[in-house]
């Protein structure tokens, strides 16, 4: 076992900013949706719109980071070990079996994580950003709008945005739980805070 830098500084900054923004967007978003009351409707709209702009800026930087550092390769899906990884969560974990996928600085994600995060990156987040932008800059039918994106019904945009929001809530619940499934209950959390994690020596 050796302490290694797994999550670099920008990685941690991006992760924690994103998590705060998603939590805040969820809270304000579900208030606008009529599911809860917290900030008051007018404030919720105001905060949600501004946080959304912040989120988009963060995404732009994150995309830049992923491509310049090559980190995007972390999310390439792989079938190798997929079955074993599912078996681990359904069985091995209860028997204290070892993790089937070895975590290294160059390959941080197990095959299931790769699939889920890739889904977030290429499906859920883009849907949320696009529907969110349309929602925000939508000016009602034919009025001061961009004629080429004449949306006659905000309903479609809003419902897509809502589906994405539910998917994210579900993701966050599972994600928070899976923090506890590292080498120890807190090792994953510590790693994302400090950047360092005790990793097994790489097998060759």
């Amino acid at each position: 076992m050796k302490k290694q830098l797994v999550y670099k500084r920008f990685n941690r900054f991006w992760h924690w900013t994103q998590s705060a923004l998603i939590f805040f967007l969820g809270l304000t978003g579900f208030e606008i949706h009529g599911s809860l009351t917290f900030f008051g409707f007018e404030n919720a709209v105001h905060y949600h719109n501004n946080a959304a702009i912040g989120f988009i800026v963060l995404i732009v930087f994150a995309i830049f980071w992923h491509f310049t550092t090559g980190e995007w390769k972390q999310y390439l899906p792989t079938a190798a070990n997929l079955r074993e990884q599912i078996a681990y969560y359904l069985d091995g974990i209860f028997r204290n079996a070892p993790h089937p996928t070895q975590k290294t600085a160059l390959s941080k994600l197990n095959p299931l994580q790769r699939l889920v995060y890739l889904g977030l990156k290429i499906l859920v987040i883009p849907v949320m950003v696009m529907s969110g932008l349309l929602y925000m800059y939508y000016r009602y039918p034919q009025s001061y709008g961009i004629e080429s994106i004449r949306i006659f019904d905000l309903g479609t945009v809003a419902v897509l945005h809502t589906i994405g929001a539910f998917a994210l809530v579900s993701f966050v619940i599972v994600h928070l739980y899976l923090i506890t499934t590292g080498h120890t209950i807190t090792s994953n959390l510590k790693a994302m805070v400090t950047g360092y994690e005790e990793l097994e020596d790489e097998k060759h």
């Binding site: 670099k8 500084r9 920008f10 900054f13 991006w14 900013t17 606008i32 949706h33 009529g34 008051g40 409707f41 007018e42 709209v45 105001h46 719109n49 501004n50 946080a51 702009i53 912040g54 800026v57 963060l58 930087f61 980071w65 550092t69 969560y89 974990i93 209860f94 028997r95 204290n96 000016r139 009602y140 039918p141 034919q142 009025s143 001061y144 006659f152 019904d153 905000l154 309903g155 809003a158 419902v159 809502t162 589906i163 929001a165 539910f166 998917a167 809530v169 579900s170 619940i173 599972v174 739980y177 506890t180």
Partner: protein, 519 residues
């Protein structure tokens, strides 16, 4: 590499903060203080009419006053005689029906129904004298009543049931010497009492507005900017901006809030965006009939009950007429929350003689507009509901003769016989009457434009953006955040969240149990 990333992330944070600050930077609308300043300046007349020789001569008839006015204002009567205030009609284009001459002459309402055959009584609110006289002519300038609108003494009044003539007690010389621009007291004398009593018709125009407080109307408040009607109903050559859609059909020469306040009057631009689809009045007039009740419904079918052969009245708990033998049963309400409708500025009307089915409620007037229509906005309305007389054979709403000075002319208010009243009224309207009548449900829409509240009292976001029983609950066909949702998606979302939680909790429990067992 590491260093550049640190710099990079610091720049990112700064940019993030800068963009959020930029987004929250308030837009500064045109200040209301400028408007207050502009409209607080009182008009100073250039002429003192009490000093004019022509007005010292003793007037014995009101026509002499008009002649004296015209001797200086030589062309004004021509403007007046082109107006709908004089003609009780004007040319209007009605979408789908073409150009029609419409007005009080041939448009019905669901209050006292119509003016035809009742002119002698109705003409108390005509800007002329002697409308019911046999020799009356719309081309005769001597019948024009300048005093009704221009008396600034507050002492002018018209006699009841005398076709528009002044009350005999009026000192015509005193009135003539105290004329000026119209005041609320001039307009209000008719427009506050339409339908035969205070606040019967409009709901947002009534006698408290002779001298309103800021709570009643921020614009007209005597203790505020004290606007007179013509401040908004800007008048040039006796043509007034703004008219009510009980009689109008066209989107022309309207008086709007935006003309002073612009369509971006709020600091918060999200609220400014509402002005594309929501009229100012919708949020800024949360309730109408703030001081005195307004008539919400009128059932003519109960009219005509007599006690010992005599008509009688009954009052409700607030002292408003609940029943009148001559008119039927009423419901009055105070502090009424408006209903809401899409409106693009054009309206349709039931015109005297139109044939209509009774499958649905008959619309005395209907507002055109929809969510999809570029020109439509949501406006607040008073909907007056009534049961009124109808001929099931000719399928026409009946114009009954209500008023006559004496019994025996068929007038309902004297003879209490619907059959003779219908026959006499339709005869004077030159329309057929089959001899059969029934009562049908009708609705009439009155836009609510007055009694604008202080901004602190405006409608709150969540009065509309709410799941249940919001103010706009009845307006369907568009998605409104906070109100609308897709039921299937809601269910999917809830199930997904519950399954995620159950999965996580179950997994954790089994892990915990296995861990204990291992120990």
């Amino acid at each position: 590499m590491k260093k550049s990333l640190i710099i990079f992330s610091i720049i990112a944070v700064f940019l993030l903060v800068a963009i959020i600050l930029q987004a929250t930077k308030p837009y500064v609308p045109h200040p209301v203080a400028d408007l207050k300043l502009k409209y607080s300046k009182k008009h100073v007349p250039s002429v003192d009419h009490s000093k004019l020789a022509a007005l010292q001569v003793k007037f014995s008839t009101p026509q002499q006053v008009t002649e004296a006015c015209n001797s200086c204002h030589t062309e004004r009567h021509k403007e007046v005689m082109k107006s709908s205030h004089w003609n009780w009609s004007r040319e209007e284009y009605i979408p789908g029906r073409g150009i029609r001459t419409i007005g009080k002459k041939n448009v019905l309402n669901n209050f006292c129904i119509g003016t035809q055959s009742n002119e002698q009584s109705c003409a108390k609110c005509h800007i002329g004298f002697g409308m019911a006289n046999p020799d009356f002519s719309y081309d005769d300038p001597s019948y024009v009543d300048c005093m009704a609108c221009h008396d600034n003494s507050g002492k002018y009044k018209k006699a009841t049931e005398q076709g528009g003539a002044p009350d005999p007690s009026v000192n015509l010389n005193e009135i003539a010497q105290h004329v000026g621009q119209p005041l609320r007291s001039n307009c209000g004398t008719c427009h506050f009492y339409g339908g035969g009593g205070n606040n019967v018709k409009h709901g947002d125009l009534e006698m408290s507005m002779f001298d309103p407080t800021k709570d009643v109307d921020v614009h007209m408040a005597s203790d505020g900017v004290d606007l007179q009607c013509t401040a908004c109903h800007v008048t040039k050559n006796h043509v007034m901006a703004g008219k009510v859609y009980s009689l109008s059909s066209m989107n022309r020469n309207r008086s709007t809030c935006e003309q002073c306040h612009t369509d971006r009057p709020h600091t918060n631009d999200v609220i400014n965006q509402h002005t594309v689809k929501v009229a100012c009045q919708t949020c800024h007039i949360p309730v109408y009939a703030k001081v005195n009740a307004t008539k919400m419904s009128w059932d003519w079918s109960t009219a005509g009950r007599l006690r010992n052969g005599e008509p009688y009245n009954e009052e409700d708990a607030d002292g408003n007429h609940a029943y009148m033998s001559i008119k039927g049963s009423f419901v009055w309400q105070k502090n009424v929350e408006p209903e809401y409708a899409w409106f693009n500025g054009t309206a349709n009307h039931y015109l005297l003689g139109d044939k209509v089915d009774t499958n649905e409620v008959i619309r005395i007037n209907s507002f055109n507009g929809s969510y999809e229509d570029r020109d439509s906005k949501i406006i607040p309305v008073k909907i007056h509901r009534a049961r009124q007389i109808y001929d099931p054979v000719t399928k026409m709403l009946i114009q009954p003769k209500l008023f006559a000075p004496e019994k025996g002319d068929g007038a309902f208010w004297k003879d209490f016989n619907w059959n003779t009243a219908a026959a006499a009224g339709m005869k004077e309207a030159h329309l057929p009457y089959s001899g059969q009548y029934t009562f049908v449900n009708t609705e009439m829409y009155w836009p609510i434009n007055h009694m604008v509240s202080k901004k602190e009292k405006s409608v709150e976001c969540t009065e509309c953006h709410t799941r249940d029983n919001g103010r706009l609950a009845a307006l369907k066909g568009f998605y409104m955040p906070g109100r609308d949702y897709n039921a299937g998606v809601e269910l999917f979302g809830k199930v997904l969240i519950v399954l995620s939680l159950l999965g996580v909790i179950g997994h954790a429990a089994v892990r915990f149990a296995a861990h204990k067992k291992r120990k």
